[in-house]
Subunit: 178 residues, 2 copies
């Protein structure tokens, strides 16, 4: 098991590799603002980052319809505090269980800046299922699936439809066409 | 009824008036970072604010022990999404109900920057009580009280013990001594 950021890096790296793009992880602090929208968060982090190489920042979150998008931009924080158990408790007895995972990738190369987003719709499961993936994966059932949670899917299955894979695939296509 | 920020402004204004300090509200956007600590959030907002007058920024939050400080720095967002009903649902059946309200006031005048904090301990009530105050006040019972929530107290009673009044009182004393 690695950290969330190991998982995210691995997912991104594998998608970009399909386009012949090599991704390397930097250990630098980023400024993360409060905003409802992962695009704004990733773009601000990138804007204030004084690094003179082609660089990208990804921001992602789980947005639950019933709770106006909560935990959304604060998904990591909610995971560290109320965790999946807290989300399931908030959803207890709720029939409206729709949710979306969103990812935004902000990329900069010299004077060129571009942002791509990816999304996957689904539902919050009644209980945690599966030990694959990370974060909210054990409670998220993608609608383009067979009722399994992301936690019950292999990395390859998840990468076909995940928000992160979709955002990074758009970046890969853009880089390839460039 | 006003907005949360009307309430906060009014609370701060009244405390500073005790020290002969006049507070005026500006309508400017601030950059709000993600951090666990209201001091860091207020200080960063102030640091990147290009305004050449004596200025302050306050950040505050409700920190629930059981949930490692949640909703903490994202208290406004949690209020807009899961609201007091969501917090009460998370606390259902929980006997560990301790919580703290924290406030941090970052102040700058020319080359001088200083930050003051205020805190009030208490418990999360079993249900919403009272219509005074704002935010989480109807579910927060301060320990230096008689079991009433902040929502059941007058503005004067709340100002004796509230986190915000305490932080602003420290600033008032500092300005007075200066």
């Amino acid at each position: 098991m690695g950290t969330s950021s190991d998982h995210k890096y691995e997912e991104a790296r594998e998608v970009l590799a399909e386009f012949g793009v090599e991704l390397e992880r930097l250990s630098i602090d980023r400024v993360e603002i409060q905003a409802d929208d992962p695009e704004l968060i990733a773009e601000y982090s990138l804007k204030v980052l004084d690094v003179d190489i082609p660089i990208l920042i990804e921001d992602a979150g789980l947005y639950i319809d019933k709770y106006y998008g909560f935990p959304g931009p604060y998904s990591s924080y909610a995971l560290r505090t109320i965790d999946n158990e807290g989300i399931l408790k908030l959803m207890e007895g709720e029939t409206e269980r729709g949710a979306r995972y969103l990812s935004a990738v902000a990329f900069r190369d010299g004077d060129t800046s571009v942002t791509f987003t990816g999304e996957v719709g689904g539902r919050i499961a009644e209980e945690m299922r599966g030990t694959n993936g990370f974060g909210y994966d054990p409670i998220f059932m993608p609608e383009e699936g067979d009722g399994r949670t992301f936690g019950e899917m292999s990395a390859v299955e998840k990468a076909r439809i995940s928000h992160r894979a979709r955002a990074f695939r758009k970046l890969g296509e853009w880089l390839e066409a460039d």
